[in-house]
Amino acid sequence: MSDMTSKSVSPGFRSTLRGALGNYIGLVIALVAMVALFGSLSEYFFSVSTFVTIANDIPAIAIMAVGMTYVLIIAGIDLSVGSVMALAAAVAGIAMVQWQWPLYLAIFVAMGVGLLAGALNGIISVAWCLPAFIVTLGMLEIARGSAYIATGSRTQYIGGAIEWLSSPMLGGVSPAFIMAIAIVIGAHLVLTRSVFGRYMIGIGTNEEAMRLAGVDPRPIKVAVYAILGLMAGLAGIIQASRLEAADPNAGIGAELVVIASVVIGGTSLMGGRGSVISTFFGVLVISVLEAGLAQVGASEPTKRIITGCVIIVAVILDMYRERRRNRRS
């Protein structure tokens, strides 16, 4: 009976809201619990400086995590994001320092470099049917090496021209932070509401079925890797603005932090399932953990051990959540 009524009427706002809360409630609870825990352990945790640290940490990782969510949804992987970010920052740094280019042109160039690297990842793995793991592992080395060559292995000091991107404005948030939020929202809409999003989920679920339904998966896959490259380019600029410099060593290991954030958000490494909003919560979990552990005085090795445990536990919890959801339906 209830099925009949809900079928004829479009689902109301309340059920949509319930669905949305249901999807994110676990992550929100985890976040709140972490904040409460760190708040009780350290009297300095609830302070402006903690907030600024976290807000500064987030944009670069969040922007790359958005692109990585897309890549994991199509059952791909990209290990090169950290290096591509460094290369994009390096090229932007050279452009601004040595060629005296204005910031907006440097941003343009950085994003172009990222787009090119990402598109190459996609084109090579699609054209030769190679595993993305291998292709992007190669790109990780290529981009890092290129970053060293471009900068002569020296950090390029850019200075104030780029700093404002990461400086707090009114309300204490930086332009980079606002940019990240805008990208998260936009990417969420594309994933859930556009043809492109529907195709990504389809390709991640069953690529051959998509092909035989008359959808060519290849351009979509290339586009997804290119988007992630573009995001890595943008993240490079943001990273450079935090340091006021282009460091060729920046972002070593960043790919792992990015993938961890996406996975904590519940996106499946097997493809076909994922959410950009959840990814953003995943980024928050990682950075709150990072800042909180620093506040309570945990050593670097301890921080890494705890972070590792959180990643594994998060995925186990997500698995149970998914099972329960399947049983209910």
Partner: protein, 512 residues
């Protein structure tokens, strides 16, 4: 019949969200074949999984001989001699036949496998089911699906076996392999093994079953000795109503040509095939497995590339350029694939997503989703096709085979193709859903679509099609008009390409 049953089930029930099995009681005696039949979703698989220890019953109990029997796992059931050959193959494709057969007790000395002993044991095991011509050192992945199925069966005959469950064992076997299987079943019976045989194929049941047990909607309908039942009786019990097969329906009026194929070839699989398909007709393609039928459909659909030949659409005199499924769909051709799980459906996605996949333009405006419109369109198709699901948001992986196939039909109805290629559209589909699918094909033909249908079930082709093209060894050997064909001359044509070469691989479906 022995007074003491080998296995007795009392009031067995299983409830997931809704009951899928309720109050089923039965006896199985040593040395008999009890056929278990019913539509898909009738509870056959659930019942057999309970017996094999793959799932536990919600209610009721089992007695194995005189002791209560409640296996907690497949392993425990196997220890007690209760074995089940699963529909899905459980073989490791990179290991050899011998390694697969003896996987859980490989003969070894201090951890190292004793190859010769292993292969000899395996050879003997394969010989018991007449497959001694397969080298036990062959990796399983190199065997055809039919042979893999036989290896799977052989594996379950290793060691102690008191009760064997066979779930649609012949679905992928050739008739020669089926013969071997039936001989083996007879030998097992003689050894006193009780066999539960699950199948849709009523002619097979008549050959080997001693008694037949019919389930419908999770309930036990009747169990009777096989000789007392006609096929019609069984069908009536399964469906709960009379299903009439219209073997002599009139030919549909054919319109203008919508698809024409001239000299299409690809290697040895498809050689110089020409045919034409008209609006409003159903053209069947009969043939044995490996005759090139699926390959022909894939060539027309652009999924594979032809070495030679042309395809013409809508009576045009210039060849159509179909380089990929994308361009095929764009030009109004749809394909219902043979393997719907691997090639047709997004199993974890909803009915809604699967239905609109081939025609996104109808549910997106300028690239953005129109949820209400999509729900309305999919809801209407679900009603038209009588897809059984609690909601259009239900993942298609949870649906029965028949309903999954209806979802694929819904996809092409939504796309509104003028030519529909159907590859075994009723494989693994129960009788009730089959009738719905035939009715839908009828409607499509009446609406002026051209349907090209491959099937291994000759009776099905004879009841549904207006013309039947017969392929044999890659060639199209003849096309029969409705009224001209008999089962005999269709089969004769299907075998004709293999005469004298000695490599005919007749298949199960052609043996009706």
């Amino acid at each position: 019949m022995n007074p003491m049953p080998l296995l007795r089930g009392e009031g067995l029930g299983k409830t997931y969200v809704t009951p899928v099995l309720s109050g089923v009681s039965f006896d199985l005696y040593a040395g008999e074949v009890l056929a278990l039949t019913g539509e898909n979703g009738a509870g056959k698989s659930t019942l057999s999984k309970i017996i094999a220890g793959l799932t536990e019953p919600t209610t009721g109990r089992l007695m194995l001989g005189e002791t209560p029997y409640a296996p907690a796992s497949r392993h425990e059931a196997e220890r007690l001699g209760v074995r089940m050959v699963l529909q899905e193959l459980g073989l490791v494709s990179t290991l050899t036949v011998a390694e697969n057969l003896l996987l859980d007790h490989l003969p070894s000395r201090s951890g190292f496998i004793r190859r010769n002993e292993l292969n000899e044991l395996a050879r003997r095991q394969m010989a018991t089911i007449g497959l001694d011509y397969i080298d036990p050192r062959t990796p399983v992945g190199e065997l055809g699906v039919g042979h893999q199925q036989m290896v799977e069966i052989a594996r379950n005959l290793v060691g102690d076996c008191r009760l064997l469950i066979l779930d649609e064992p012949t679905a992928t076997l050739t008739s020669r392999e089926i013969e071997h299987l039936f001989t083996q079943i007879a030998a097992l019976k003689a050894r006193g093994v009780g066999i539960i045989y699950i199948s849709h194929r009523l002619d097979e049941l008549a050959q080997i079953a001693d008694r037949v047990m019919v389930l419908r909607d999770g309930r036990h309908i009747d169990t009777r000795p096989m000789p007392e039942m006609t096929q019609d009786d069984i069908v009536r019990l399964m469906v709960g109503r009379d299903v009439r097969e219209e073997l002599d329906r009139p030919r549909r009026p054919a319109g203008k040509e919508v698809l024409s194929v001239r000299g299409l070839s690809r290697g040895k699989a498809v050689q110089d095939v020409s045919l034409s398909l008209h609006a409003g007709e159903v053209l069947g393609v009969a043939g044995l497995v490996g005759a090139g039928r699926t390959e022909l459909l894939r060539l027309i659909y652009g999924a594979d590339h032809a070495d030679a030949g042309d395809i013409f659409l809508d009576g045009s005199s210039t060849p159509a350029h179909i380089s990929s499924p994308v361009s095929a769909v764009r030009q109004g051709i749809g394909l219902v694939t043979e393997d719907r799980k691997a090639q047709g459906l997004l199993l974890t996605q909803s009915i809604r997503v699967n239905t609109t996949l081939a025609n996104m333009a109808a549910v997106f405006r300028k690239g953005w989703w129109q949820p209400a419109s999509e729900r309305q369109q999919v809801g209407a198709l679900r009603d038209t096709l009588a897809i059984k699901a609690y909601s259009i948001e239900q993942p298609v992986g949870e649906l029965s085979g028949g309903n999954q196939q209806k979802v694929i039909f819904a996809r092409w109805l939504h796309r509104d193709c003028k030519v529909l290629l159907l590859d075994e559209p009723t494989r693994g589909v129960d009788i009730g859903a089959r009738a719905d699918i035939y009715a839908q094909m009828d409607k499509l033909a009446a609406a002026g679509k051209g349907l090209l249908m491959v099937s291994s079930d000759l009776r099905e082709l004879m009841s549904v099609c207006d013309r039947i093209a017969v392929m044999s060894a890659g060639r199209l050997v003849s096309i029969f008009e409705r009224g001209q064909w008999t089962q005999h001359n269709l089969l004769e044509a299907a075998f004709s390409g293999y005469l004298g070469t000695g490599n005919a691989q007749p298949e199960a479906g052609s043996q009706h």
